[in-house]
Symmetry: C2
Subunit: 234 residues, 2 copies
DNA sequence: CGGCAATTTGATATCCATCAATCGGTGTGG
DNA sequence: CCACACCGATTGATGGATATCAAATTGCCG
């Protein structure tokens, strides 16, 4: 298995010198229905991307971290909402300027397409989880997903680095529930079960420690994952 | 709302003159783990794309129809399985030749990226369904999805065309179940409920008639969908 | 007509949702 | 500093939707 970190996507150079914007927790960057004339790159913090039906049901589609691009859509308006979970800084670029900067830069275009494919494969993971996994399995996957992104955004080369096992959960239980297709009470109980089984310890409401990584991975069935391409052979 | 059909994606020209391959129902075109050195375009028939975990759980990711491109991946091997549901003909092209044909053709590249975005938005729909909708709602969405693709692949301009309401279901109940994240018995019962509610009639095991399209759409909550971009202003 | 597979239907079990109560932290004002 | 209120999280009790297991039925192909 590959184990070294990937360099940041080269197409992100298009954001060099772009103006930035700071968001407070809960602040909305993109409201559903807004014109898709701007694209963003996350410089720091965590965002949450979600879609809400007319009847109020909400599905959280992903949590976004440093160097995640924001603005993939085929339509001229966004059909999802993006809001800050933690204080966040993003770089802003008009879509037309972004496209112009990419145009003709073969390497950047290829990197952009590649990033799009990785997003697609993440979605496949999500579909598999929602369709096939139980509540506790989904939560296990989620914790590993957060750990993974923490590792990537901090560029920590060593997967065994102990601090990686302190997972920060800045979002609410309800956000987690809407991400995993569960109710918040079920998320609570599933945390309890993971703790009972000695896979994690709850340090406080927004912080858990992974105490048995191997068992958590086994439960999550993480080898089923598509996502090795996020890492590069070392 | 837009109501005319979109022209086929221009990048599909890259398959002009490509060799074809015929598949019988059940025949595998791409086995999970196979090298991703070929890409395909569907000329006729229906394919099914799925992913199976080590423990045997299978998630059907999509059903594929005419003019659907096959080969989106960031890795050098496919991590999913593609098999024929009906007799199917595909055009085959090596990935390198396909990339070479696209390279420099700005219009084709843009169309390709656009198609990728549409796939992404379809996946968002799927995630919303699996995370938020009940069994009967998912089945309603599924029937409308089949009707929609039937319309697209037959290039039927009029959405009210009555033959569109005869939906063909060539796949098994288990395939449907694995697509919707349900068990086959639940799919059966949900068909029964849709029939009880006079939204459909079961003609035979592989054919249903939509008898109340408006009610089915209401149940599916289809306005929640992202996918207007699959149609073009008429 | 016979036999096998797919589907439907039935009975029951399980998981998760729902509704309700309690707990714990945090901020405010007395 | 403490009382109180408020919000999110946890825990408890119950219900409902779907899974599971089993049987009956239908459809399909020889």
């Amino acid at each position: 298995m590959p184990d070294a970190l990937q360099p940041p996507d080269v197409f992100l150079h298009a954001f060099d010198g772009a103006p930035t914007r700071d968001l407070q927790p809960g602040e909305v960057l993109i409201a559903a229905g807004a014109p898709a004339d701007q694209v963003f790159n996350i410089l720091s913090g965590m965002l949450m991307l979600s879609r809400t039906g007319r009847d109020g049901r909400r599905q959280v589609l992903s949590f976004l971290f440093r160097d995640n691009f924001l603005g993939l859509t085929a339509t001229d308006s966004y059909f999802f909402t993006v809001e800050a979970v933690t204080p966040t800084r993003v770089a802003c670029c008009s879509r037309s300027a972004f496209n112009a900067r990419l145009e003709g830069d073969l390497q950047a275009e290829r990197a952009f397409l590649n990033m799009t494919f990785r997003v697609l494969e993440d979605m496949v993971d999500a579909i598999y989880s929602l369709g096939q996994r139980s509540a506790i399995e989904r939560l296990a996957v989620f914790l590993l997903y957060l750990r993974h992104w923490h590792r990537l955004s901090e560029a920590i080369a060593d997967d065994a680095e102990p601090t990686l096992n302190n997972v920060s959960l800045p979002m609410t239980r309800e956000d987690i529930a809407d991400f995993l297709g569960l109710q918040k009470e079920t998320v609570s109980r599933s945390f309890g079960q993971l703790e009972e089984r000695s896979m994690i310890r709850r340090l406080d409401n927004h912080r858990v420690q992974i105490t048995d990584l191997a068992a958590l991975r086994e439960l999550a069935g993480v080898m089923d994952f598509a996502a090795p391409q996020r890492l590069v052979r070392g």
